[in-house]
Amino acid sequence: MAYLLRERRRGAAVEVYRHPWVVRIAHALNAVCLLVLLLSGLQILNAHPAFYWGEVARFDAPFAAIEATPAADGSLRGELRVLGASFDTTGILGVSPSADGGAEARAFPAWLTLPGYLDLGAGRAWHFAFAWLLVGNGTLYLLHGLASGRLRAELLPSRADLRHLGPSIIDHLRLRFPTGEAARHYNGLQKLAYLGVIAIALPAMLLTGLVMSPTVHAWLPWLGTLFGGRQSARTIHFISAMALVAFVAVHLAMVLAAGPLNELRAILTGWYRLKPTRTPK
């Protein structure tokens, strides 16, 4: 059964019903969940802002770490260390403004953590509650997408999509977006980006998160081995989170570049207007 998008005419323009209501609600919940998970995750990370590879920590040789070190003049200096390289990050990472206007030694600043004050227990409560919400939301989304055929029709790149990937990347970099019939469906780059989030980044977040649970480790020890150990899983959890942040940044930039009103209408009402194709004169 082919998956067809409903369409309607608005004057000279054609609108397609791109996002069914299940997808719109899932998208909104997803956005809220990812924001809360990011901020509460950084709160949790503040308890031990160092990353390792393998099963256990090697405290004197982290792969990356955020530190606060006293400078010669007695002030605190924030520092990000990655693979032996050191970057001065005072003001943001390691040392940032405290509520009373002074400087506070903390890995991620108050405006990037939930709650803003240091509270590992509260960060964990937010993180796990919204992780469950994300899992429930994602499950409903996937069930709907598989049952309706939408995932397959709209997100699985076709051979033509993949062949056209090179020119598509160049078009995106030049901020030239498909118009007319070519805009009816996602292009190959969009499909790969969305599929990457749905099929790779989010499952990786979920699985590496589960690996960190000591009870899950007793239950499925091979899952930890799959990711190279608990500390590797924790590091991958953070890298995947940063990949998601990068995705959201590009996603929002593309929304702005492609026409924010049309994109917003689509994600709020479902209806996406196909821009008329420029006809050569």
Partner: protein, 257 residues
């Protein structure tokens, strides 16, 4: 005031804007209603893990080569109470572990007697709530057989561990470390009162003379410096009623995640 130490207008506006947003988030975090909803997440986690994971499943055990050379000692590393320091000075010769509360036959065991009790050795991974892990070898008396010896009364539901370390000085003693676990976890074969770590007597930094090992949960459940064990029906009357020192300060009672 010179121009250079006057905060720029943009900075002040930015600080006010983020400050307002942060205050909003923090207000949510301290609201009892919000915390009640968030605590549902903890319930779901506990129920899901209890449903999926056999309560008798053993935590993974490692070969001796996996033992961490730099196992971190967290929390209290040397309780400063006079009683405890006297025990340290005497090599814990007069130290006795009391097992009481809802039991038929309260026990009082010396370290030597504890070493005679049915024991278990295990090389396991210690997962700290902060995010790091270390692997260590533990040997200790299995808690289950000790509880059987004391005869747990039918109304008992939890085992409480009272410790020698005070993390916060308070008048009512609510800053003393304590923990509670349920009876199923207490009888798990890997739940031991560890007196040896890495083939040597448990160091003070790691909880001498005995610490609880509760594999499959996070480190804060594994009380160090255990002095007294009590079988109880409810932990509502202990500390601030949440079942442990850290639980009273916002940590989750169920620490399987």
């Amino acid at each position: 005031m010179t121009g250079s130490d006057r905060p720029s207008r943009r900075r002040v506006i930015a600080a006010a804007a983020t400050g307002g947003l942060l205050a909003g988030c923090d207000q949510l975090s301290t609201s009892p209603q919000v915390n009640q909803v968030l605590a549902r997440g903890e319930d779901v986690t506990r129920r899901a893990q209890r449903l999926l994971v056999d309560r008798k499943v053993l935590a993974r055990e490692y070969p001796p080569e996996a033992i961490s050379p730099d196992f971190r000692a967290n929390g209290t590393t040397n309780p400063d109470s006079e009683d405890y320091q006297a025990h340290v000075a005497a090599g814990f010769q007069d130290w006795r572990l009391e097992i009481g509360g809802l039991v038929e036959r309260p026990l009082s065991l010396s370290l030597g007697e504890l070493r005679q009790a049915p024991a278990r050795s295990q090389v396991t991974r210690h997962d700290c709530v902060e995010g790091w892990s270390s692997i260590g070898k533990w040997r200790g008396a299995r808690l289950g057989p000790l509880l059987d010896r004391a005869g747990v009364k039918p109304q008992a539901r939890y085992v409480a561990f009272f410790c020698a370390d005070t993390l916060e000085l308070t008048l009512d003693g609510s800053g003393d470390y304590y923990e509670t676990i349920d009876l199923v976890d207490a009888h798990h074969p890997q739940t031991i009162l560890a007196y040896d770590m890495n083939d040597a007597p448990l160091p003070v930094a790691h909880g001498a003379p005995v610490r609880l090992r509760l594999e499959r949960q996070l480190g804060y459940k594994m009380a160090k410096y255990v002095m007294r064990i009590e079988l109880i029906e409810s932990f509502a009357h202990l500390g601030r009623g949440r079942g442990g020192y850290w639980e009273d300060r916002g940590y989750q009672w169920y620490a399987g995640i």
